[in-house]
Structure formats: structure tokens, C-alpha cells
């Protein structure tokens, strides 16, 4: 069902947790299956210095969260905004067709976290 890469990330998820006093936090629920993900980021000089996630969801949801944090950590905000759910799935060696929607969670949560960061910036 899942690729080895998916299972590897599922078994050893990277960057689990929450950043206290994060620069931005994004939380999204997956309308289709009821799963939830929260991503928090710490941004310095427009670079994502640190990123952490928490996910309530299936194996694919957890693996996509994990790989997503790995993909953008150390990248600029603009680079991070270009991340698509397809890129997340590809980084895992693909997902079963029925599980493609799960990869939306990660990309959306990340984009929300960035939006939150930008909103906060704007206020300062």
C-alpha cells in the first residue's frame, strides 16, 4: 500500500512538536476525512529556521507532514510557498490514489503558517 519512504517517515517522523513563541502557526482540518494538522514555524531573515508539526491522521498524513517539514526547513519563505502537495507526495515516492488528498493537509498547513507569519509581520 505505502512506499518504504512513507513507512520510514511514519515510523520516524521528523520535527514533531510545537515551537513555543512561533513566528507563525497554521492549523488545517481535512474536510474530506476529518483529520487535523498543525504546523508552527520560526522565521529569521525570511528563512524557515525551525519547523514542527503535530498531526491527527492516517499514515499518509503523518508521513506527508514529516517530509514536508524536512523539505522546507532552511528554505526561504518564497521557496516554501512554492511547495505543492504533488511535490510532497513525490518526495515520498508516491501515495496510493485514495490517499492523495492526505498530502493536501501538509501543504495547506504550511501555507497557513506562512500566512499567519505574514499577518503578524504586517501588524508589527
Amino acid at each position: 500500500m505505502y512506499t518504504e519512504k512513507v513507512m520510514e517517515h511514519f515510523a520516524n517522523p521528523r520535527n514533531v512538536g510545537e515551537i513555543e513563541e512561533a513566528s507563525g502557526v497554521g492549523e488545517v482540518g481535512n474536510a474530506s476525512c476529518g483529520d487535523i494538522m498543525r504546523i508552527s514555524i520560526q522565521v529569521e531573515d525570511n528563512i524557515i529556521k525551525d519547523i514542527k508539526f503535530k498531526t491527527f491522521g492516517c499514515g499518509a498524513a503523518i508521513a506527508t507532514s514529516s517530509v514536508c517539514t524536512e523539505l522546507v526547513k532552511g528554505k526561504s519563505i518564497d521557496e516554501a510557498l512554492e511547495l505543492t502537495n504533488q511535490a510532497v507526495a513525490d518526495a515520498l515516492g508516491g501515495l496510493p490514489p485514495a490517499k492523495m488528498h492526505c498530502s493536501n493537509l501538509a501543504a495547506e498547513a504550511l501555507h497557513e503558517a506562512i500566512a499567519d507569519y505574514k499577518a503578524k509581520q504586517g501588524k508589527e
Binding site: 511514519f10 476525512c33 476529518g34 487535523i36 498531526t55 491527527f56 491522521g57 499514515g59 498524513a61
Partner: protein, 398 residues
């Protein structure tokens, strides 16, 4: 690591004696039971013997048993057959079922709606039980069929079939029960239950996949689901799956001999698992505490999603199942858990352990030792879980 299979509700390993009987049939009695010659007669004899064994385990006579390709076909044959047959006789077009039926029953009823039938779906209480008064309220003069399962596949709750059937039949409706999960596990007697139609499946009782049967009480007429040769008293055409049927017969014989002792043994394991796992924080038992199948454990672990739990268990060699949407191909979590009043989230975090012949006391120990750390790990990942202290309500968030 020795794997621990605790998904006997999904399917069971085939009993070695069953395999042996099937191999013998394939090697020595491959004839077509409809053939006139010696090969055919030999096949016919085995077919008759298997029918007698299966009939005996449910207190029926052999000619009341029609072999099918499984529980699903038996359910469809019963529901379409009785509903269409009764309507042809002008008896009406109202059907009653329950909210916790298997999809083979629920979806067949839904398909009948498209044919102009009206379907009433009875609710269940928080233990998954159908109440007799609900059926009483729902029955009408034009009710032609009531179909309510004997024991639930997800939560193991046993329904009061005897009273439900008595009530339905008093009002002139045909009564069908899906006994796929109870047959061979707890006593199932068609006469005691008083049902007109009863479905069973071989692969849930250590028999082969792809064989089941429908019990049809004397006098009950069914419109056939398909057409062809004159096998199975013209009720179910197609060359009989002889090795499979022989395997089903053997499995029924073995179940009959071992059922009582096995039910007692598994009830002990079940209760150890329930009591042990309920000691963890934020765990809920699904289904009735005592009026449930001996082999069924179903728990919801709050803040956790079922598929992740299954995958973690799988990595530890434990095979289990879940009512999670993520495992079912559909995007909604178990309709059974939702009908029992669980929120989507809690329904998502359900775990079903179904015990069986191969399980030992050590398997129970292993599970009791393994699950707590997995639950803790997954909760640490969960955005819903803010530490044990912080949690307030875990049943209604959505």
C-alpha cells in the same frame, strides 16, 4: 517476532483439517455434481454431506440450506429475493433494517429504494443495540421484510433477534438475520431464533473464502438474484464450488465440537484485554460490555487516528482493524460507531481486536504490553492532545 493475528472478524486462517478435506476433494472428487456418471455421483454425495453439516450447526434441515459465494451474496439474495418476491405478491413495499448493519445489507436496502421500496432504518442505543420498541413503532401493514443482524461485526453487540423476529412475523413480514459474525461462535439455532432467512459465511469460521449459505425456512419464496442451471433447487445457479463447500462443511463440524470451550476461552481473553486497556487514560469501550461476541474487543483511543494505530501495531507484528475512514476506502468513519453516537474524531480512533483459535494467553500479554507505548507515541504526535491534564471534553469536539 512472532506475528499476532487479532483480526478474526475480517477473516480467519483456514483450519488444517479444512485444507485437508478440500485437497482431498480436489484430488479425488473433482466431478460436477450435476453429472450422471460416477465422478458426478461422488461429487453429489460430498455436496449432500457438507449441506447436512452446515445445516446441523444451525438446527436446520439440509434442504433449507442454499450455498452461495459468501455472506454478501447470501445477504443480497435474502433481501432482494424476499422484498421483490413479497411485492410481486402484492404484500407491500416497506422494509425495515438497522443503522449498524453490514454494507451488504444496508446497500442492498438502499438499492431497493431506487426500485420504489421505502426503507426505515432503526436507530441503536449507545451500546449498538436495537430496541424492540423501535421495531414495534416502525412496523406497518405494508412491511414486507425486516433484516437485522445477529451480532455486529465491528462492536460485537448481540441483538435480541428472538423478540424482533417474533414481532415482525406476527405482522406478516419476512425476517432475515445476517449471522455472519455469530455463526459458529455462539449458539445459532434458526428455530429458537424464529427467523425466516439467515446468512452465514465460511471464511469467518476457519473455512475457505468464497463460500457462504442462506438458510431459507420452508414456504419462504425468493425471487432469484441470477439465472442459469438448476443447481441448489433452482435458487442459485452455477456449478457448485465443491471443494469450498466441503471445506465449509468441515469447518462447521469442527465449530460444533469446539464452540463452547472456545467461547469460554476467548471471553476470558476478551475481558483481560478490555480491562487491561481501559486502564489507559481517555479510552472508551465500544459496544455492550457483556452482551457481546466472545471474540470482540473494540475501543476508542481519544486523540488518535485508527490507521496510524494499525500501522504502528503492524510494525510490532500485531494484525488488527479499525473503523477509521482512512482504512475503509470511504471517507466517513464507521457508520456503526457514528450510529452509536460517537463523534467523527472518536470514531476515527477506534481499534478492533478480534480473537480466534490461534491466539494464546501470551498474545494477550503481548498486546497489553505493546499498546500503551504506541498510544503514548501517537498522542505525542497529535495536535488534539495537549497533555493529560489539559484535556477537557474529548467526545464532542468537531
Amino acid at each position: 517476532m512472532q506475528p499476532v493475528y487479532m483480526d478474526h472478524g475480517a477473516t480467519t486462517p483456514v483450519h488444517p483439517e479444512v485444507v485437508k478435506a478440500m485437497v482431498e476433494t480436489m484430488e479425488k472428487s473433482f466431478g460436477n455434481p450435476s453429472s450422471v456418471h460416477a465422478f458426478g455421483r461422488e461429487a453429489r454425495k460430498l455436496l449432500d454431506e457438507a449441506r447436512a453439516s452446515v445445516a446441523s450447526l444451525m438446527g436446520a434441515s439440509p434442504e433449507q440450506i442454499i450455498f452461495t459465494s459468501g455472506g454478501t451474496e447470501a445477504d443480497n439474495m435474502a433481501i432482494f429475493g424476499a422484498a421483490r418476491g413479497m411485492r410481486l405478491k402484492g404484500k407491500g413495499n416497506h422494509i425495515i433494517t438497522s443503522a449498524v448493519e453490514h454494507h451488504a445489507v444496508l446497500d442492498a436496502c438502499k438499492a431497493l429504494e431506487k426500485e420504489g421500496f421505502e426503507v426505515t432504518i432503526l436507530p441503536v442505543d449507545e451500546d449498538g443495540q436495537v430496541h424492540v420498541e423501535e421495531l414495534e413503532k416502525a412496523l406497518r401493514d405494508d412491511t414486507v421484510l425486516v433484516t437485522i443482524m445477529h451480532a455486529n461485526n465491528e462492536v460485537g453487540t448481540i441483538q435480541p433477534i428472538q423478540e424482533l423476529a417474533r414481532l415482525a412475523k406476527a405482522r406478516g413480514a419476512v425476517f432475515h438475520t445476517d449471522a455472519v459474525q455469530s455463526f459458529g461462535k455462539i449458539p445459532v439455532d434458526v428455530n429458537e431464533l424464529g427467523v425466516d432467512l439467515l446468512s452465514a459465511s465460511a471464511h469467518k469460521i476457519y473455512g475457505p473464502k468464497g463460500v457462504g449459505c442462506l438458510y431459507i425456512a420452508k414456504g419462504v419464496k425468493l425471487t432469484p438474484l441470477s439465472y442459469g442451471g438448476s443447481q441448489e433447487r433452482r435458487r442459485r445457479p452455477g456449478t457448485e464450488n465443491l471443494p469450498g463447500i466441503v471445506g465449509f462443511g468441515k469447518a462447521a463440524l469442527i465449530s460444533q465440537a469446539e464452540m463452547q470451550a472456545e467461547a469460554e476461552r476467548l471471553t476470558r481473553y476478551r475481558d483481560r484485554l478490555i480491562d487491561g486497556l481501559m486502564e489507559l487514560p481517555h479510552v472508551k469501550l465500544n459496544g455492550h460490555r457483556t452482551n457481546r461476541l466472545p471474540q470482540n474487543v473494540n475501543l476508542s483511543f481519544h486523540f488518535i487516528e485508527g490507521e496510524s494505530l494499525l500501522l504502528m501495531l503492524d510494525m510490532k507484528g500485531i494484525a488488527a482493524s479499525s473503523g477509521s475512514a482512512c482504512t475503509s476506502g470511504s471517507l466517513d468513519p464507521s457508520h456503526v460507531l457514528l450510529a452509536m453516537g460517537l463523534s467523527h474524531e472518536i470514531a476515527h480512533g477506534s481499534l478492533r481486536l478480534t480473537l480466534g483459535r490461534g491466539n494464546s494467553e501470551e498474545d494477550v500479554d503481548y498486546i497489553l504490553n505493546t499498546i500503551p507505548e504506541i498510544v503514548e507515541r501517537l498522542r505525542a504526535l497529535s495536535p488534539l492532545y495537549e497533555g493529560k491534564e489539559a484535556v477537557t471534553s474529548c467526545t464532542q469536539r468537531r
